[in-house]
C-alpha cells in the first residue's frame, strides 16, 4: 500500500502539485442487531480506497477512488490536480499551510480484548439477553438492541515527508425500549440514545456497559413515561445527566470552536460561529465552573488518535478556561490565517472524503460536586436524562434540546418522573448559569457517532468527557 501512496504523490507532483498527501484507508465493521426477540441483522462491512489531496495553482483539489491499483492511483492523482487547477480560476489568494514537522510513526488504539476475536454467538447471546430483559415489561411494543465493532487502518503520506500508519479500534452498543399507548409513544435508551454508546476500545467497553443488567429498568421507565405528568413549564434549575451534558458541549462549544466555521468555510451549510477571533482571551463564555478542552489524547475517546489526517500530532487544546474563551480547533490552513500552529483537528470520514476540522474529544472537565449533592441542594427543578432531540442555530447560539425523561425535583428530592421535557437557551447565557459540575467519580467519556458536517456529507465519531452538571434559571417546558 505504501508504494501506491508514494506513487500518488509522485504522479500529483509531476502534474504540477506543490503539495500532495495521500490516505489509504481500510475499514471493517461488524454490526449485529436484535429486534423483538430475534436477530434482525448480522452484517459484515469492508471498505477500502484512497484519497489524494493536492494544492495546484494555489488551490485545493481532491480525488478519491476505490480502485487500488496503479491505474486507479494515477487517475485519482491526475484528477485531483485537474480539479485544483479548475478551482484556481476563481482564487486570487493561494492556500498557505502552517508548518508541521514530517514524521514516520505508528499508532494503535490500546485494546483489552480484540472485539473481532469475540465469537459472533457471544454477541448474539448478549443482544438476545438484553431483548429478554426488555420483554418483561408489557407496554414495550418495540425492542431494539445493537452492537458495532470496527477497525480502521489509515496510511497517511505527504509530499513533505510524513509516513504515518494508524489502527483505530472502536466498540459500541446500546438498546432502545419503545412503549406505546393509544395516544403516546415513549422511548428510553441505554447507555445513550440514537443507537449506541461507543468508545475507542475493545470488547471490554461493551462489557462495562452492563447492558443486560439495565434492560428491564430502562424498559420500565419507558412504560412509566406513558402516563407520567408532562414536564412543568417555567424558569427553573436544570441538572443534565452526563450524556446530555456531552451533547450540550458538542453543539454549543464543540462546533462554534471549529476555526473553519469562523472563516466562513461552512457558511452555506453548517453555519458560522459566534466565537470570533477578537473574543479569544476575554469573552466570558461560561461560569468559572466551566473548563472545556479539545483533547485527542484522552483514553477511550472516539476522537483519540496519534496524528490527525494532515499528519499533525494529537494534542490538548484549551477552548474555555474557567469560563473564559481561549482558543479553537484548527487545521494547518486555518491556523496559518491566524499565524499559529494547527491544533491537530483535521479528520476525514474514510478515504473518500477530505479532512475537515472536526471535534476530537471535547471535554467538560470535572468539577467538585456530585449528582446527589446537586439534587439535594435544588429547591425546584428537573433532572434531565438522555437526549431525544437537539437543534441549534447556524451561529450556535439559540438552542433547544429535548430529553427522553426528566425527574421533577422538589425540596432537594426526586418527586417523580415527567415526560416530554424540553429546555432552551442561548449558549453563553446558559453556560454562565452553570453553578456545579460533578467530580471525577461521575465523569466519563461518551461517544457521539453521528456528527455531520461538510459537503459532501461526512459523519464523524467524536468523544466528550462529561459529568452531570447544573444550570440556574433555565426555560423549561413540555414538548
Amino acid at each position: 500500500m505504501r508504494e501506491l501512496a508514494e506513487r500518488a504523490l509522485d504522479t500529483a507532483t509531476a502534474a504540477g502539485a506543490t503539495y500532495a498527501d495521500c490516505r489509504i484507508v481500510n475499514r471493517r465493521i461488524q454490526m449485529v442487531s436484535a429486534k423483538n426477540g430475534s436477530i434482525a441483522r448480522i452484517e459484515l462491512y469492508e471498505d477500502e480506497g484512497l484519497g489524494v489531496r493536492v494544492i495546484a495553482g494555489g488551490s485545493w483539489g481532491f480525488a478519491a477512488c476505490s480502485r487500488l491499483d496503479g491505474a486507479g492511483v494515477d487517475a485519482s492523482a491526475a484528477r485531483a490536480v485537474r480539479i485544483a487547477r479548475a478551482g484556481a480560476r476563481l482564487n486570487s489568494v493561494p492556500v498557505r499551510l502552517a508548518p508541521v514537522a514530517p514524521v514516520t510513526a505508528e499508532y494503535r488504539t490500546p485494546v483489552g480484548r480484540d472485539p473481532f476475536s469475540v465469537p459472533l454467538d457471544e454477541k448474539v447471546a448478549l443482544l438476545l439477553a438484553v431483548d429478554a430483559g426488555m420483554a418483561r415489561v408489557a407496554p414495550v411494543a418495540v425492542r431494539e438492541a445493537s452492537l458495532e465493532v470496527s477497525e480502521e487502518h489509515r496510511l497517511f503520506v505527504s509530499s513533505e515527508g510524513s509516513r504515518i500508519d494508524q489502527t483505530i479500534v472502536e466498540s459500541g452498543a446500546g438498546f432502545d425500549a419503545i412503549a406505546t399507548s393509544a395516544d403516546e409513544v415513549q422511548t428510553r435508551s441505554y447507555p445513550n440514545s440514537f443507537g449506541r454508546h461507543q468508545l475507542c476500545a475493545g470488547w471490554e467497553a461493551i462489557e462495562e456497559m452492563r447492558l443486560a443488567e439495565n434492560a428491564e429498568r430502562i424498559a420500565e421507565e419507558a412504560a412509566m413515561l406513558l402516563t407520567a405528568e408532562p414536564c412543568p413549564v417555567g424558569m427553573m434549575t436544570v441538572i443534565l445527566d452526563g450524556t446530555q451534558a456531552a451533547l450540550q458541549v458538542h453543539e454549543s462549544c464543540g462546533h462554534p470552536t471549529e476555526l473553519d466555521r469562523v472563516f466562513g468555510s461552512e457558511a452555506a451549510f453548517a453555519g458560522t460561529s459566534f466565537l470570533t477571533p477578537e473574543l479569544v482571551g476575554s469573552f466570558r463564555y461560561g461560569s468559572e465552573a466551566v473548563t472545556i478542552t479539545a483533547d485527542a489524547t484522552t483514553p477511550g475517546g472516539l476522537g483519540t488518535f496519534g496524528w490527525d489526517d494532515e499528519g499533525v500530532p494529537a494534542q490538548r487544546t484549551v477552548l474555555v478556561d474557567q469560563g473564559v474563551f481561549r482558543g479553537y480547533m484548527s487545521s494547518r490552513e486555518t491556523a496559518a490565517l491566524l499565524d499559529g500552529a494547527s491544533s491537530g483537528a483535521m479528520r476525514a470520514d474514510g478515504w473518500s472524503r477530505i479532512p475537515l476540522i472536526r471535534m476530537t474529544n471535547v471535554n467538560l472537565l470535572p468539577g467538585t460536586s456530585s449528582l446527589e449533592e446537586m439534587i439535594a441542594t435544588t429547591e425546584e427543578g428537573v433532572y434531565l436524562e438522555t437526549n431525544r432531540s437537539w437543534s441549534i442555530d447556524d451561529r450556535r447560539l439559540n438552542f433547544q434540546f429535548g430529553t427522553q425523561n426528566g425527574w421533577l425535583i422538589r425540596g432537594g428530592k426526586r418527586a417523580g418522573l415527567v415526560r416530554n421535557p424540553l429546555y432552551r437557551g442561548v449558549t453563553p447565557d446558559f453556560w454562565r448559569s452553570c453553578d456545579a459540575v460533578a467530580g471525577p467519580a461521575e465523569w466519563q467519556m461518551w461517544g457521539v457517532v453521528n456528527c455531520g458536517k461538510g459537503q459532501p456529507g461526512q459523519l464523524m465519531h467524536v468523544g466528550h468527557g462529561a459529568a452531570p452538571c447544573r444550570f440556574q434559571r433555565v426555560s423549561v417546558g413540555p414538548a
Binding site: S33, S38, A40, R41, I42, E43, L44, Y45, E46, E48, G49, G51, S59, G61, F62, A63, A64, C65, S66, R67, L68, R79, R82, I83, A86, G87, A88, R89, L90, L120, V124, A141, E144, I178, T180, V185, G264, S265, A267, A268, F269, G271, W351, R353, I354, R388, S389, S391, I392, D393, D394, N398, Q400, G402, N420, R424, Q455, P456, S475, A479
Partner: protein, 440 residues
C-alpha cells in the same frame, strides 16, 4: 462508469459463488464531484468514484449480509464467506424471510442526463464563477456548492430478478451574505444544462439585499407564508415520522387510515415514476416503485411498503424498501404536495399581519406521534404587513406540529420547487398557514 451488463455481471459472479439458499446482490457504482465555494472563491473541490457490492443470503430461515466498498480482490468468495458466516450464527427467524420474485413490470425511466454524467470540474467552476460574479458586482459574498453525481444501481437475485438503472443529479446551493444578513437559493435536477446559475444567484442576492439589518421580534403564534424550501422540509419529516407501514404496524405513526388529518386542500403522493419527481424504477429489493397516495384531500389514504411489512399486512410491496434487512422499514422518497392555484405573491397578499419564511434550518423531531418538530428560520425571514413583504426579522426558533399546521391551510401556490434532501426528493409549493408557533 460500468454499464448495466458489467455491473450485473459482477452480481452474477457473486450469485454463482453462493452454495445454497436464496441470495440477492446489489451493485452500486457512483461517480460524484462537488465544488464548494466561500467568499466568492472555491475553497474545497472534490471528486470520488466508488463501487459497493452487497450480498444478502437467506437459507434455512437465517439471513446473513456482507457489504464491500472498494475491495475488488476475490470479491465473490469474500462476500459469500462473510455473509454465510453471519447467516450460520443467526437464529432462525420466526417467519422465514423470502426474497422478492421479479414483478415483471417494465422499467420506468430514471432521472438521467448525459450532460451531468459528463460534467467537468471546469464546468462546475464556471457555474460557480457566474454566481460569485453576480454577488461580487453587488459587493456581496457568495457561499455554496455545485454538485454532480452519477450512479448506477443493479440488483440480481437467485429468484430471477435482474434490474439495473442509472441516475444523475445536479445540485446548486448558494447563500449570499452581506454586512448584516444573508439570502438563500437552491436548484436541483437531473440535468446540469437545465440549471440556471444566474437566476439562482439573482434570487439569493435579492433575498440578501432585502434581509439586511433585521430586527428582533417576540416569539408567538403567527400567520405565515412558507417558501417551498421550508415546506419541503416539513413534508420530508412527515415521511420519516409516519408514512411507512412499519410505523403504523408498531403504533408509532400519526397516520390513522381513513381519518381526516389536515386541511382538505392537502394531498400528498409518493411517485417514483413521475418525471418531475426525480424518478427511479425500483427499490433496494428490486421491486418496482409504485405511486402511492398518502394523504388525499386531508384524509389519511395509504402507506408505503417493503416486502416484510407487506407480508404482515397481506398486501403487495409498493417498492419502497431501504437496503435489507433493516429495522427502519420502508420510506417514501419521491414526495409531492399537490399544487394550488395562486402565485406566491397571491399568498402573501392574503396575509394582513404575519411572517414570510424562506427556509428552515436544523430541524429535528421533538414528538413523532404528534409530528412536533423544532428548528430555526434562516437567511430570509420577513414581516408581512397588509399583504406585502416588509422588513426583515431576526431568525426565530419554531416548535410546531406539522399536522396541526397543515390543518390550517389558507393557500397553496401553483408553482412548486423540487428539493433534494438526505432521504429523497420533495416537490413542494409555497403555503399560507393560519397558525405557526415560534417559541424563542
Amino acid at each position: 462508469m460500468r454499464s448495466a451488463e458489467e455491473t450485473l455481471a459482477i452480481a452474477g459472479e457473486v450469485l454463482d459463488a453462493v452454495p445454497a439458499g436464496e441470495a440477492e446482490v446489489t451493485v452500486v457504482e457512483t461517480d460524484s464531484a462537488l465544488t464548494r465555494f466561500a467568499a466568492n472563491t472555491i475553497h474545497q473541490n472534490v471528486a470520488e468514484t466508488e463501487l459497493t457490492v452487497r450480498l444478502r443470503l437467506v437459507h434455512e430461515g437465517r439471513t446473513g449480509v456482507a457489504e464491500v466498498r472498494g475491495v475488488e480482490a476475490d470479491l465473490p468468495s469474500r462476500l459469500v464467506t462473510a455473509a454465510d458466516g453471519a447467516r450460520r450464527l443467526t437464529p432462525p427467524a420466526p417467519a422465514a424471510p423470502r426474497l422478492p420474485r421479479p414483478d415483471r413490470r417494465p422499467d420506468q425511466p430514471a432521472a438521467y442526463a448525459a450532460a451531468t454524467a459528463a460534467a467537468s470540474p471546469e464546468q462546475r467552476a464556471d457555474m460557480v464563477g457566474r454566481i460569485c460574479g453576480i454577488a461580487s458586482r453587488r459587493k456581496l459574498a457568495a457561499y455554496g456548492a455545485c454538485e454532480t453525481t452519477t450512479s448506477r444501481r443493479s440488483i440480481a437475485s437467485t429468484t430471477g430478478l435482474r434490474r439495473s438503472a442509472s441516475t444523475t443529479r445536479c445540485s446548486l446551493t448558494v447563500v449570499v451574505r452581506g454586512d448584516d444578513g444573508a439570502g438563500y437559493a437552491d436548484r436541483h435536477g437531473a440535468d446540469i444544462d437545465a440549471m440556471d446559475a444566474e437566476a439562482l444567484g439573482l434570487e439569493a442576492v435579492d433575498t440578501c439585499e432585502r434581509n439586511q439589518h433585521a430586527t428582533a421580534i417576540d416569539p408567538g403564534v403567527f400567520e405565515v407564508v412558507l417558501a417551498p424550501y421550508a415546506v419541503a422540509e416539513m413534508i420530508a419529516y412527515l415521511s420519516w415520522m409516519g408514512f411507512s407501514a412499519l410505523a403504523r404496524q408498531e403504533g408509532r405513526s400519526f397516520m390513522r387510515p381513513g381519518e381526516r388529518l389536515m386541511d382538505a386542500g392537502v394531498s400528498i403522493v409518493d411517485d417514483a415514476t413521475a418525471p418531475n419527481l426525480h424518478p427511479f424504477p425500483f427499490d433496494w429489493e428490486g421491486v418496482s416503485s409504485l405511486p402511492v397516495t398518502l394523504v388525499e384531500n386531508g384524509v389519511c389514504a395509504g402507506f408505503v411498503y417493503d416486502t416484510p411489512t407487506a407480508a404482515l399486512d397481506g398486501v403487495a410491496s409498493t417498492g419502497h424498501a431501504l437496503p435489507m434487512p433493516n429495522t427502519a422499514g420502508p420510506l417514501a422518497r419521491n414526495l409531492a404536495l399537490a399544487a394550488g392555484s395562486g402565485s406566491r405573491e397571491d399568498l402573501v397578499a392574503g396575509v394582513r399581519r404575519g411572517l414570510y419564511v424562506t427556509r428552515f434550518w436544523y430541524v429535528r423531531a421533538v414528538h413523532e406521534l404528534r409530528t412536533v418538530i423544532t428548528g430555526m428560520t434562516r437567511e430570509g425571514t420577513f414581516r408581512i404587513v397588509d399583504g406585502r413583504l416588509g422588513a426583515p426579522v431576526r431568525d426565530l426558533r419554531f416548535t410546531q406540529s406539522i399536522v396541526d399546521a397543515l390543518g390550517g391551510v389558507a393557500g397553496i401556490s401553483r408553482e412548486r420547487a423540487l428539493e433534494h434532501g438526505d432521504n429523497g426528493v420533495v416537490l413542494a409549493p409555497a403555503l399560507h398557514l393560519l397558525r405557526f408557533a415560534f417559541t424563542s
